[in-house]
Each structure stands twice: as structure tokens, then as C-alpha cells.
Amino acid sequence: MTDPAQHNAGKTCWNCPAVEFKGHVDFRACGQAAFSRAAEGQLVVECKRREEIGYFDPMSITYDACPEYEATEFGYLLRGMRVMILGMDGYLGWPLALKLAKLGCQVFGIDNMLRRELVAERGAQSVLPIGSMQERIESARELLGVEIDFRPIDLCDREEFFAYVEEVKPEAFVQYAEIPSAPYSMASVETATKTIYNNNIGTLNLMFAMRDYAPEASMIKLGTMGEYGSPLTGRPLFEGLFPGDAVLQHGDDEWSLGGELVPRDPVSFYHVSKVQGTFTMYESCKYWWLRGIDVMQGVVYGLHTPELMTDPSLNTRFDIDEWWGTVINRFVAQAVVGAPLTIFGSGNQIRGYITVADAMQCMIRLLASPPEPGQYEVVNQVTDVLSVRELAQTVARIGRDEFDLTPTIQRIENPRVEAEEHPYEVIHEKLEKDFGFSSQSNVEDEIRYMFKRLMEPSSRELIEASRDTLFPKTLWSGGEKTLEVVEADLDY
């Protein structure tokens, strides 16, 4: 196990976004140069922050020996790193902005505010009250003493986005600017198109912007565990992209991928867009020597980080409707207002989960340790693997035992096309082993905290106002309908 505080001490300038590749040089031939990255000879770079070094071998300076790096609880972090968050108004974008800013990073963000619009169109709203982006930035300045630069730019607006990237020259990007809803993507041809366009053109714009204006930057793109599907063979969900004929090992077992996708098996058009994003990123790293980490994130839940807890004016959005809320968040909201907790089909679908707080810790650690130029890396970002039924039972139990509620659990017909009984083994070793990650959360504590916040009158009122949107009705086969209850009042 890597020491969490030192996990990247031995990384070198070759991993650092402040370093610019210059070429290869053969000093036995009087410093003759080759400019291709794949050339032979001594690799030569320049540091944009320490110009006085001139050309140097990037492997010869480690993070712990560089004055531009400072030790933090997340590892060595590039001092004042310029990070651009795409989708900063979102559930994850905002807490990440606050955490990075508190760590001394220069934070820049864009958002087209589409999420607010789409949630409102559905007749729902964030059940934690949130201010405008400007109001939240002002609060962050007053309460946390940090500056955040935000522009209301659509990632799909190439001209505006490219101009901002050229101006800022970020050292890292976080791609959160995607429509993150499987049911939304299945609701109609319009919503499917919007999802595919927004997610794929946005990511493509990011790749070209990096190529042209910030080629040394690292990027972290949010993938999803849903890209992998849930293979009925019982094959574990390996961390990475592999050749179709690869034979992979886990423990004492070997797994052949023959006959499978590589391995990707998306389960909605939203997930299709994420798989496309994965390949867009992979190919860009290959063609242009960009570097990035594709984070196959489990379902995120929860609502607290140290920064978010500072004051309600720093709230991040919290959605609970069918389209935009994630499963645990929705269960807690349902329990708070006395609506049944709805599980699809058997409820034995197993998924990976992670809290917002843990997800933020992971992101900072990944930002602190970029891959090498040209390297496309995948990490599986989950901490708990649980069935939907177990989760509903846990939420109901805590609501009943600790918050004096009387939750009920219903099984309803499954509107999705998915396996309800399946093996599920997620390999999630890299974050811990290579990035020093250690979970600071657990499911039950996070659920307790969510109950506390959502039972506050202001939130309860907002949930009540969105009550009609809590019950799922979007069918994968098309259209909407009121789903039949298969089994009511499940035990917990």
C-alpha cells in the first residue's frame, strides 16, 4: 500500500503538466535533435514555471524534489495548479471547485446551466436550495477566502470554449459537462440526440482544445461503471481498455475477452455516449500525446464534504427525481416524504457506489498525479458494491430506527432492459494502490447525514413539491407509463 501522503513523491516532471516536451537530442552527435515523440535519443523538456533550468531530462526531477510541488493530504500537488472544471454548476463540479480552491489551486469553470433547465422542465428542482453561480462564488469568497473564475460557456460552443482555454491555458481539465441520465437518454429521440450531442461533441471539443492550446494538461473525464455493463459470465470489471483477444488475470482466475466487446456493454444511450467518450479520449491520447484518466465512477450519493458543510449558501445541487436523482439520494427523499422506496424488478441488480466526499478525494488524488504524455489511464472509482434491494432496506431501516419515519419498499415492474440477476465483481485497486486513496465514508453514516439535511423543513418542502417526479415511469422500450407494483411492503 502506498503511503497516502506520499503516493506521488516519486513521480517526475514527465508526469507534470508544467513541462513542455521539446524533442529528443543525441548528445554524442553534438546535440542533434529529433522532434517526434517516438524518436530515439535523450528526451528533452522545458519547465514553463522554472525557465532557468532550460532543457532537461524530465525523469531527473521528482515531485518531492521540485519547489513547485507542495505536500498536501492528497499527495504532492502542483502549486497553484490551473484547473478548469467543465460543468462546474453540477452536483460534482461545485464541490470539486471548492475543494480545489481551498487547496490553493486556481480554479476556472464553465457551465451552460443546462442541468437547471432540464430539471425544471421535468417539474423538479434541487431539494437543497442553491444560489446562482455568482452567488455561490461570492459566498465561497467570503466564507472560504477563495477565488473562482466562472464563465457561462457551453462546452459545445467551440469558439467561446477555445478562446477561454487559450486565455487560461489550464494545467488540468475535469470533464463533468455531460448529461448524466440514462432514463432521460431513453425518453425520446430528442432527449437521446441531445444526450449524444452534448456529451460527445463536448468531449470532442475538449480534446481539440487541449491539442491546440493546452497539450501538456492532464484531463480527468468522468466515465461510468455503466459502460461495463454487468457481464453474465461473471467476468470481473477490469480497470482499463483491452484488446479483444486479451487474456486478463485477477487472483487465480484468467478471463478471455474473446467474443466480448473490449469490454464495454452500455445499457442506455447515455451509456453509449460515455463509451464513445472513452474512445474519443483514448484515441486523442494516442494521436496527440494527450494524457488523461477516464474515471469509471460508480453511482454517487450523499451531500457533504468539509467545504459544502461550511454554510448552506455553498450547497451543491441535490436532485431526487426519476431522471436526475441517483438511487440512494432518491430513496432517502422518498423516505422523508413517506413515498414508497421503489426498486426495479427483483431489486437484485448490483452496482458500485461512492460518496461525494470520497469521489472528491479521488479526483484530487488523480489531479495530483497525471499520467505520462500519451497515456490513457482508467480507474474504477467505487467503494461499495451493493444490490438495489439492500440499499433500499438500509435506507428504510435507518429512517425507521433513527428518524422516526415509516418507510415502505415496493418492487415495481422494471422499466429498463437489464439483467436483474447477475454476478458483479468490480476490480477497483488502482486508486488505493497507485494514488493512495482510502475511503473516509461509509454508506450508513452518509445516509444518516442525508436524512438530517433532507428532513430540514426547507428541503422537505421542496421534495413535497417535486413528489410527482419521484416515481419512475420512463420506459426503455419507449414512452412513459405508470409502472405496476409487483410486490408491496417488502421486509427490511
Partner: protein
């Protein structure tokens, strides 16, 4: 006092009346050996050179130690030895670090002649070790190692001149073994572009000093000297390029007035390379250098018990406690120096020595930066080239290079209106004093 001989250009009696009034042209042909120049001039490959040699005084010159271009050119243009200008090779490890840095204009701690009083305005083109371009009274485009043309040009406003003629500082090295045809074509194209830039800039100011270095010759010699020496298939193309260089020199000479000073120099000689010996491998085998295991070996991989390490080509540095974070060797450890010298003096490969002699840094260098000098410098046996790579798979390294530098047999030619005294054995350190003498009629 060294003995000096008097050099009298053929018609300097006439030119002597206008001493110090003309321009100074410093024309470099990188890697041109005195022997080869004479041969090519005599054989008709370089007719302009033949004529110039007749009108001038040509002597062989000794390079700097180590005999690499960065050291030699910096010594010529500053008039200092490495202890005075701080360039001991292409690579350098800044004090109290293990950063493997590459020397540049920032490393040079003595002013080149174009930054001295009375030399400007100057046009400086392609002088090695001048990247990134530093401010001067004039225009400069740096020579190798310069991987970014925009930072190689001063003032920046001149950059379009170079871009418009397709100016490249260097030829892509991999072409030498992947496509010799393209390599030769690129050498010619780059020489033509360099000459075209000179043509444009020549008329744009009343230059007092012009420094113009042709570096393609060095690249050619490194990769194709065997074709020249051993009648290889590409010998004609090799000679064609030297003819082009000769024409460029002829064009320069034709531009000069009678009262201009012309100095033609090279930075080292050349000979065929027989083998590349990894010096650090020898040190590792002897237990004097201990490195961390790992796929990437850098100076930071050195363990505290390492006593000494090599940097290109044959510079040996003690792993001193006062210079390196993990070093444990005291400065001037005479017994260790003796042990290392003995190791290399007695070393044989296939029955032959790899070193001709070993120089002590304290004997070679003086000046404010001599404390940064290597403690020992291995002078290679004939045909042997030294590599200072820390990573080694064995004693010998593979290489596409066929030609290597020699300490002796560089070139110094002077055509000036003034009488010039030169040392009996000309060295690169004497070039600037000689130029001063040619301009003023006095050798300091």
C-alpha cells in the same frame, strides 16, 4: 610565455593602413577537420576554400576538453576556458540537485564577443550554445541545441524572416538512418535556407560583426564519414554537400571589403568511430557507481555509496557531499582519484586500451566556475567514443554514428588587414584574442 609566430596575410601590407575600420566576420564550419579541408581544397571539391587558403593563414587548432561542440564554440566566442564560462559539456547537473539539465545560453557565464563593447551591431547566426536567444545589439538566431525557433530568434520581430525562408536550426537526426536520401536533401535545404536568411538580413543593417556557422557538416560527418573515408556509395553526395558549403563560404568572401576581417574556424576534428564505450558501465562493474533499480535511470537513481559518475563524453564527477544531495565523497579525494585513474588506465577491451590519457580537472580549468568542473576527464583512445549514459546494457553501446570528434585537427584561418601573432599551438581559447588582434593589430 608561449612562443608565437607571426602571421602575415599575403597583402596585409596594403590592408594594414585601414586596421580596425572594417567588419569582422566569424565563419564557422562545424566539425571540419584541418586535414579534410586541405584535402578537399586541393582536390577541387572546395575551390573557393582553395583560393581563400592561398590568401590567408591556415593553421590546425586544438579543441577544448572535452572535445564537444558546446564547449569548443563557447570557448571560442567568449575567449574563456570552461572554468570561466561554465560550459563543460552538453549536459550539466545544477549544484545540490540531480537534475540532468542541458547547457544553454543561460549556462554561459561569460559574454560572447557580440555582447562586448565595440563589436555591434552584430548579426549572429547559428552559433551553438546560444539558445535561448539573449538580447544583443543586433540580430541573433541560435544554433543547436535549439528546439523552438521562436525562442531562438532575437529580436522576436525578426522571426518572420526565418519563417519565410523555411529556416530550420537542425536536420532531423533519425533521417540519417531511416532515409539517407532525405537526410542529404534536408542538409542542403537547411543550408540554402540559412544562406537565404543571411542574404535578407545582410542588407537590413550596417553590421559591424557577423557570426555565421554552418553545422550540417558536423551532422554529415557523424553519420557518413565512413562513406568519405572508405569510398562508400554516398561519397559523391558527401562531397556535393561540402561543395555547397564551399560555395556559401565563397559567397561570404565575395561580399567582404578589403578592410574586413575574416576568420574561418571549426570546433574539433573528426575521425572514424570504432566503438562506443559506456563509462558508467565500467564504474558500476567496479562498484564505484551504485544505482537504484528501475526502468528509468537518472542521476537521482544514484545511491549514497556511489563514489563517481560519468557524463558525456568522458567527464568523471566525484559524488561529492558538497555538490550532490546524497553524495558522501569529500572534495579532492586523492586516493579515490588515483583508484579511478588506475581503473581506466589499466582497462582493456579486446586487448586495446580505451583511454589515451586522463586529465585532471584542476589542471585543465581555471576561473570562477572551475569548482563545477569534472575531477577527471578521460581522453579516448583512437576510434573510441565515450558515452555517459547512466543506463547501460553492457560495456559497448550501439550507435548509428560512424564519425567522432578529435581534440586535434580543428581549423583556424584568418584573413585580415593586420598582422596577427598566434600561439605556436593554436587552441580554441586563442580564437578571440586572435580576432581582437586582427581587428586591432594587437594580441593580448
Amino acid at each position: 610565455m608561449p612562443t608565437r609566430k607571426k602571421l602575415w596575410p599575403s597583402d596585409c601590407v596594403i590592408w594594414g593602413t585601414c586596421k580596425g575600420m572594417g567588419r569582422t566576420v566569424f565563419f564557422g564550419i562545424d566539425g571540419l577537420s584541418h586535414t579534410m579541408w586541405r584535402d578537399l581544397a586541393d582536390s577541387g571539391v572546395m575551390p573557393q576554400s582553395a583560393q581563400l587558403i592561398k590568401e590567408s593563414q591556415l593553421v590546425p587548432m586544438r579543441s577544448a576538453i572535452p572535445e564537444v561542440s558546446s564547449v569548443a564554440w563557447t570557448s571560442m566566442v567568449t575567449g574563456k576556458n570552461p572554468g570561466g564560462h561554465n560550459v563543460f559539456g552538453f549536459t550539466d547537473i545544477p549544484d545540490n540537485s540531480y537534475t540532468l539539465a542541458f547547457t544553454s545560453a543561460r549556462t554561459v557565464k561569460a559574454p560572447p564577443f557580440w555582447q562586448m563593447e565595440g563589436w555591434g551591431p552584430s548579426l549572429v547566426m547559428n552559433v551553438p550554445q546560444t539558445y535561448p536567444a539573449q538580447p544583443l545589439d543586433g540580430t541573433l538566431v541560435a544554433g543547436y541545441v535549439a528546439l523552438d525557433l521562436a525562442k531562438a530568434v532575437y529580436p522576436a520581430a525578426r522571426l518572420p524572416v526565418f519563417e519565410e525562408v523555411g529556416y530550420d536550426i537542425d536536420v532531423e537526426m533519425a533521417l540519417a538512418w531511416t532515409s539517407p536520401d532525405r537526410f542529404f536533401a534536408e542538409l542542403t535545404r537547411i543550408l540554402e535556407a540559412r544562406s537565404a536568411a543571411l542574404d535578407i538580413l545582410w542588407s537590413q543593417a550596417d553590421w559591424q560583426t557577423i557570426a555565421f556557422i554552418i553545422t550540417g557538416t558536423d551532422r554529415l560527418n557523424h553519420y557518413f564519414l565512413d562513406h568519405y573515408e572508405q569510398e562508400g556509395a554516398l561519397r559523391e553526395r558527401f562531397l556535393d554537400f561540402y561543395s555547397s558549403v564551399d560555395a556559401a563560404l565563397g559567397d561570404m568572401v565575395a561580399r567582404l571589403a578589403d578592410d574586413d576581417v575574416l576568420v574561418v574556424v571549426s570546433d574539433h576534428g573528426f575521425e572514424l568511430q570504432e566503438k562506443v564505450v559506456n563509462v558508467n558501465h565500467v564504474l558500476k562493474e567496479a562498484g564505484l557507481l551504485v544505482l537504484d533499480d528501475g526502468p528509468r535511470v537518472t542521476p537521482a537513481s544514484m545511491q549514497p555509496e556511489s563514489k563517481v559518475f560519468a557524463m558525456d563524453p568522458g567527464r568523471l564527477y566525484l559524488h561529492r557531499s558538497d555538490r550532490y544531495p546524497k553524495g558522501q565523497v569529500g572534495p579532492g579525494d586523492e586516493s579515490l582519484l588515483a583508484k579511478i585513474s588506475e581503473l581506466f588506465t589499466g582497462f582493456r577491451h579486446e586487448g586495446k586500451p580505451i583511454v589515451e590519457r586522463i586529465e585532471l580537472g584542476k589542471d585543465l580549468y581555471d576561473g570562477p566556475f572551475s569548482y563545477r568542473a569534472p575531477e577527471l576527464v578521460l581522453m579516448p583512445a583512437q576510434g573510441v567514443s565515450f558515452s555517459g549514459r547512466l543506463k547501460s546494457d553492457g560495456l559497448l553501446e550501439d550507435s548509428y554514428i560512424v564519425g567522432k570528434h578529435t581534440l586535434e585537427d580543428a581549423v583556424f584561418l584568418c584573413r585580415s588587414p593586420n598582422a596577427v601573432d598566434l600561439p605556436e599551438a593554436m587552441t580554441v581559447f586563442d580564437v578571440l584574442p586572435a580576432m581582437n588582434a586582427a581587428r586591432e593589430g594587437i594580441v593580448e
